[in-house]
Structures are given as structure tokens and as C-alpha cells.
């Protein structure tokens, strides 16, 4: 198991390295000159050149990349124009917001985590639960209701569901405050009440896929021989379904969940925009709009880290669920 973990972590590191190189190259391949966006229209060529020098853009690409990576690992000195000493993990300086990119990320990342993690727990419980129930009650009204629910969820868009939820719960019934972000550690009740609509909207849309997937998987597993064996042993239904069938049916759900959660942590643009909450997704979009290259690069890298980590986690979960995986 330890060897398995090491192998997975090694390949994850390689992937991240490749992503960072690609992102870095993209940074320079973009048709936008970072320098001209820093000093505004009244820039004479000499000043342009000075800024370019300050930014280290005249250094060879490799040493620029090395400097950037060194900044992430140990921190570095960016020079007085960019706020001086930049502590690890240093992601550069944004001239648009006039702050260190790492400070921006430190502010918006908890927001996205607070939206995605509770929503993911909700959608997994809801989706897998619905899928299980409709598989076990196949052909009954309960099954049809669950299928209808998931079909509705799969057909709707988040901005529509979000708008309806806002209208009903915030503006008409006045049960909830206007969505906003408060730190969990500061005021848990306010944290939850400010984000609960985002969780519900995301969970409704995502659980639809999970309900359908786990229903199909469960139905397939229920016809497996080992489920019949479990029943032939005289096990009670909850044990047969919970311990024997569910464990085998859940593997594909784990894969999809890993990809979904990893992707969502990279930014939930539409959710954040619909509910007016500034998270990683909106920050990334804002950065693209304003040509804020260091911030773009940082958000892309962070999204990549989440996807890669989610995949490692999926691999580990797979190995924990299915002993045959550990051999490979």
C-alpha cells in the first residue's frame, strides 16, 4: 500500500510539473504584453523597458521559470515595484489589484472551499441515496419520482435554479440573508446561512447525475452472483445491500465524484456569479478580463493542483475499496 501511494504521488508530481511548465509558457504565448497593462497609456519606450527589466522579462525563459518556482517553494524578492519581499508560496505580484497574488488567493480560496465541500457532501449523499432507493424500489412510484427529480436536475442550469432559490427564500419568504461569505471560524451560523442556497443549487444539479449513475450501478450489482451468495447465506437485506452491493456499486461514483469535486474546487464561476460571492472562479474570470496575468497563472495552477490531488485521492479510495487495485 505504501508503495502504491508513493507511485501515485510521484506521477502526480510529474503531472503538476508539466502543468506548471505549460501554464508558464501560456503566460508568454498570450497576445497580451504584461508590461503595457502595467504602465498605462502614457508609457514611453524607456519606461517600458525599465518595467520589463524589473519584472525580469528580459531574462531567459528558463531562469524566469526557475525564479517563479523558487518563489512558490521558498519565496523571493520581487523588487520594490512589486511589494518587495514575497514570502512562500509566492505567486507574483498583481499590478491590477496592487497586492501579492498569494494574498488574493488566500482571501478567495476559503470561499470556494466553503461552497464546494459542503455542496459535494450534500450532492453525494443525496445522489447516491436516491440512486440506491430507486434501484431497490425499481418500478415503484418512488423510483419514478427519483428519476423525475434527477431528470429535472440534469436539465436545469445553475443560474436559473439559483435565481429561483434567491427569489423564493431571500426576497419573497425572507428566510435567508442575501448570500455572502463569512469565515466559518468567525461565525459558523452566518457562514452556513450565507452559503446554504449555493450548496442547495449545486447539490440539486450535481446529485441528478449521481442518482442516475448509482441507480444504474446498483441495479447491475444486484444481479451479480455475489449478491445472490450473500442472500443465500441468510444475511439480512440491509447487510446484503449496504455491505455487499453498495461497496461494489460505488466505485464508478467515486471516480466521477473525484473529477467533479476536483474541478469544482478550481472555481465555481457560475455559482459564485449567481450568488454574488467572490471566490476563486470569479477571481479567475476577473483576472482574464483585466489581463491580470500573474493572477490568471495562479488560478490555473491551483485548479490543476486540485484536479491532480482529487485524482490521487480517487486512486487511494479505489485501492481502499477494491483490493485487486493494490496489486497493479
Amino acid at each position: 500500500m505504501a508503495r502504491f501511494l508513493l507511485k501515485r504521488l510521484f506521477s502526480a508530481t510529474l503531472t503538476l510539473f508539466a502543468v506548471s511548465v505549460l501554464t508558464f509558457l501560456m503566460f508568454f504565448a498570450l497576445p497580451r504584453d504584461p508590461v503595457s497593462s502595467i504602465c498605462s497609456k502614457n508609457c514611453n519606450p524607456e519606461r517600458l523597458e525599465r518595467v520589463r527589466d524589473d519584472l525580469g522579462l528580459n531574462d531567459p525563459l528558463i531562469s524566469q521559470y526557475a525564479g517563479y518556482m523558487k518563489g512558490i517553494v521558498t519565496g523571493r524578492d520581487l523588487g520594490s515595484a512589486q511589494g518587495g519581499r514575497c514570502d512562500a508560496p509566492c505567486l507574483g505580484w498583481s499590478y491590477v489589484t496592487n497586492e501579492a497574488v498569494s494574498d488574493t488567493i488566500a482571501r478567495v480560496l476559503p470561499v470556494t472551499l466553503s461552497i464546494v465541500i459542503p455542496a459535494a457532501i450534500l450532492w453525494l449523499l443525496l445522489g447516491v441515496g436516491l440512486g440506491m432507493i430507486s434501484a431497490l424500489r425499481r418500478g415503484t412510484w418512488l423510483d419514478r419520482a427519483a428519476i423525475g427529480f434527477s431528470l429535472t436536475g440534469a436539465s436545469l442550469q445553475l443560474y436559473f435554479v439559483g435565481a429561483v432559490l434567491l427569489m423564493v427564500f431571500v426576497y419573497n419568504l425572507r428566510l435567508l440573508p442575501v448570500p455572502s461569505y463569512t469565515s466559518l471560524f468567525e461565525n459558523p451560523a452566518k457562514w452556513a446561512s450565507g452559503l446554504v442556497l449555493a450548496w442547495v443549487a449545486l447539490a440539486f444539479l450535481f446529485s441528478a447525475i449521481y442518482a442516475r449513475l448509482s441507480r444504474a450501478q446498483m441495479l447491475e450489482t444486484l444481479s451479480e452472483d455475489f449478491v445472490r451468495t450473500a442472500r443465500a447465506k441468510g444475511l439480512a437485506k440491509p447487510t446484503v445491500y449496504g455491505r455487499h452491493a453498495l461497496r461494489a456499486a460505488i466505485t464508478p461514483v467515486v471516480t466521477i465524484a473525484g473529477l467533479d469535486v476536483g474541478g469544482a474546487l478550481g472555481g465555481t464561476v457560475i455559482t459564485e456569479t449567481t450568488f454574488g460571492i467572490q471566490g476563486l472562479g470569479r477571481t479567475a474570470v476577473d483576472a482574464v478580463r483585466s489581463g491580470d496575468l500573474p493572477t490568471i497563472m495562479a488560478t490555473v495552477l491551483i485548479a490543476a493542483v486540485f484536479v491532480v490531488l482529487a485524482n490521487v485521492l480517487v486512486d487511494l479510495l479505489y485501492a481502499a475499496i477494491d483490493p485487486r487495485v493494490r496489486l497493479r
Partner: protein, 374 residues
């Protein structure tokens, strides 16, 4: 019981004539006029259509037939493993004198694995791939011994693994099914089914998925265990060779009905039903002439939704014309075959319109002269 009568005195008059086997009343398992129907979108499947038999402790009944003959459905019905929403089961299944048909599932569940257990065809798919073999055996023990703790259950499972001939049972306990060979897996499956000392063991094609060399070992093991535990065994197979090796009695099924029943000597020495002849002549013999022709049964097993009228076997029977339109209009009853001297007392039964003389003549001329039984 008056042995010469087709209808034994114990059977109700409104039931079809189904003669009882010897010592029927003491049998551990008694099945009478079992009917299993499935409702499907294509129509009603009559998977089992009025089958009766009994198995005593210490004896082995072989149920033989092609796929779709209803033999596996019969065994699953005994264990109560069908989906009650889509299955209708009527008739009588009594285990230790207790009628199971119509019993609440919770009560049947308590008998499953404790009084009656099952071994399946493919041990790889029948064992859960994600749990260790030992854990699955211990689980079967603990569900019927709620007071047993983890350690006792483990010890019991290790003992069972040892008993079925698995070397290093304590180490094997912690291994997964994929780490076992096919034969070892089936041994583990047998250990799991016997962990609660069930009096009735149903083995559904237990050797079909195994190497030929392993098949004999598994059959020997089953015979050993039967001698030790004095259990009643139902062996479901399509292989009459296997039946000849281990069974005491044979039930031949076709299209959900019993077409022939008797002791293994009766059925294999003087088979009475043309379908049984076909099954016998489809098996190459090791002892007979290697050049002997095989006589495969023409055609395919019938659809259970739309069974041929009359004798279900008539479209594939070479002798159907001999009885005129009766083969198509009348379902033959299972009645004493009338061979081997004292008819009926020997319990050799056949469901065929042909007379004893015709059957004897056809068998001698057409089958015994070419096939394996010579």
C-alpha cells in the same frame, strides 16, 4: 402404499398424478407440485411446472437437464431467492417438515445458510471480490450465531477451510478470492456453505467452471463431507457422468417438468425417456468405444413462455409420430415406468406416451447399439 397404482393414496385427487418416492414422509426436503412463474414483459415464463421430489439426509439427488429446463430455478425457489414481486411460487416445499412456500421472507432467511445452503457454479463471481475469503465465511457463521465473537467466527472459518482441504488455512483466511485458484475457490465456497452444518446442501453445477482435473476432487470432497455431516444434497448438473459418480437418485427435467425420475442405477442402466437417451448419448464415454457415435439431441431447448403443446419434448423427439396426435395434445404424466420387474415399487418414473415395450425396443435398437450405454 399400493405400489402398482399410478396415484398414491396420499395425493389429493385434484392434483395431477405424482407418485411419491420411498420414505417420502421422513425426507428432509420434500417438494410437491412445485410451480414457479415469472411475469416478464414478453409473457409469463413457466420456469417450473409441477415438479415433485424428496431428498433424505445422507442421500444425493441429481437434477439433470439442459439450460432452461428449470433445474436452477427449482433450487433458487427452495432457498426462496426469487424476487417475490415478479415471481409466483405455488406447491409445497417443506424443509424439516416446515412448509416454506408462503412463509414470510424473514423466516425463510433464518433457514438460509443454516438449514439449507447453496454452492454456485462459478466461485469467482459468487464470492465478493472486495472481502477476504475468511471474512465472508466468518460472516456466514456469525449471521446465524449472533453470540459468537469475531475470534470464534474466525476460528470456525479457519477450521472449515482446513476441513475442505485448503492448505495453510490461517494464512488463506486473510486472502482475497482473486488470490485463490479456481479449485481452491470452490473449496472455500463449500467451506462457506457448510460453516453452519446445514442438513441440506444444494450444489448448482459445482464443477462446471472448473478444470477437469479439479472436478473429480471437488466431487470427492462433497461425498466425503456428506458422509461426515450426513447431509441431503441436491446436485444440479447437465452432466450425467457427474450424476453417475455421486448421486443416489436422479430427476431429469425438460421444459420445467420432470420427465424421468428414479435411482441412479435405474435411470443410467435403463433410461426410459427419449430425452434422457439423448442426454446419455451426448456424453462421450471414457469406458466405451472411443469411436462410438455421439447422438446429439436435435433442435434447441423450448421457450418457457410458449412451451410446445402436449409433450414438451415432441418437436425434438424421434418417436413422436409413434403415438399419433397424442404427443401434441396430451401432456404425459409422470408414472411408473413398468420396467425392471415389479413396476412402480422401484420408484422408476417416466413421463412418456410410448409403452414400456416400445421404449425397450427403441432403446435397444437405436440408442444402446450406437451410444455409450452399450
Amino acid at each position: 402404499m399400493d405400489s402398482s397404482q399410478a396415484v398414491p393414496s396420499g395425493a389429493p385427487d385434484d392434483r395431477p398424478a405424482v407418485p411419491a418416492q420411498r420414505s417420502d414422509q421422513d425426507a428432509y426436503l420434500r417438494v410437491r407440485d412445485l410451480r414457479v412463474r415469472f411475469d416478464t414483459s414478453d409473457g409469463v415464463v413457466r420456469a417450473v411446472d409441477g415438479v415433485s421430489f424428496a431428498v433424505e439426509r445422507g442421500r444425493t439427488l441429481g437434477i439433470v437437464g439442459e439450460s432452461g429446463s428449470g433445474k436452477s430455478v427449482t433450487s433458487l425457489a427452495i432457498l426462496g431467492l426469487h424476487d417475490p414481486r415478479r415471481t409466483t411460487i405455488t406447491g409445497e416445499i417443506s424443509v424439516e417438515g416446515q412448509q416454506l412456500v408462503g412463509l414470510p421472507d424473514e423466516e425463510v432467511r433464518r433457514l438460509r445458510g443454516r438449514n439449507m445452503a447453496m454452492i454456485f457454479q462459478d466461485p469467482l463471481s459468487a464470492l465478493h471480490p472486495y472481502y477476504t475469503v475468511g471474512r465472508q465465511i466468518a460472516e456466514a457463521y456469525r449471521v446465524h450465531h449472533p453470540k459468537a465473537n469475531r475470534r470464534e467466527a474466525r476460528q470456525r472459518a479457519v477450521d472449515m477451510l482446513d476441513r475442505v482441504g485448503i492448505p495453510q488455512p490461517a494464512r488463506r483466511f486473510d486472502q482475497y478470492p482473486h488470490e485463490f485458484s479456481g479449485g481452491m475457490r470452490q473449496r472455500a465456497m463449500i467451506a462457506m456453505s457448510l460453516v453452519n452444518d446445514p442438513a441440506l446442501l444444494i450444489a448448482d453445477e459445482p464443477t462446471t467452471a472448473l478444470d477437469v482435473t479439479v472436478q473429480a476432487q471437488i466431487l470427492d470432497l462433497l461425498a466425503d463431507l456428506q458422509a461426515e455431516f450426513h447431509s441431503a444434497i441436491i446436485l444440479i448438473t447437465h452432466d450425467l457422468g457427474v450424476v453417475g459418480q455421486v448421486a443416489d437418485d436422479v430427476l431429469v427435467m425438460y421444459g420445467g417438468r420432470a420427465v424421468e425420475r428414479g435411482s441412479v442405477e435405474q435411470v443410467l442402466r435403463s433410461p426410459q425417456h427419449p430425452y434422457t437417451w439423448g442426454l446419455l448419448s451426448s456424453v462421450p464415454s471414457l469406458h466405451g468405444d472411443a469411436d462410438a457415435d455421439l447422438l446429439p439431441i436435435p433442435g434447441n431447448p423450448p421457450s418457457l413462455i410458449n412451451l410446445p403443446s402436449g409433450c414438451a419434448f415432441h418437436p425434438r423427439c424421434r418417436y413422436a409420430d409413434r403415438v399419433g396426435s397424442r404427443s401434441r395434445s396430451e401432456v404425459p404424466e409422470l408414472r411408473p415406468a413398468g420396467v425392471d420387474g415389479d413396476a412402480g415399487a422401484d420408484g422408476h418414473l417416466v413421463a412418456c406416451h410410448l409403452s414400456v415395450e416400445e421404449r425397450t425396443a427403441f432403446y435397444t435398437e437405436d440408442v444402446a447399439s450406437v451410444g455409450v450405454a452399450r
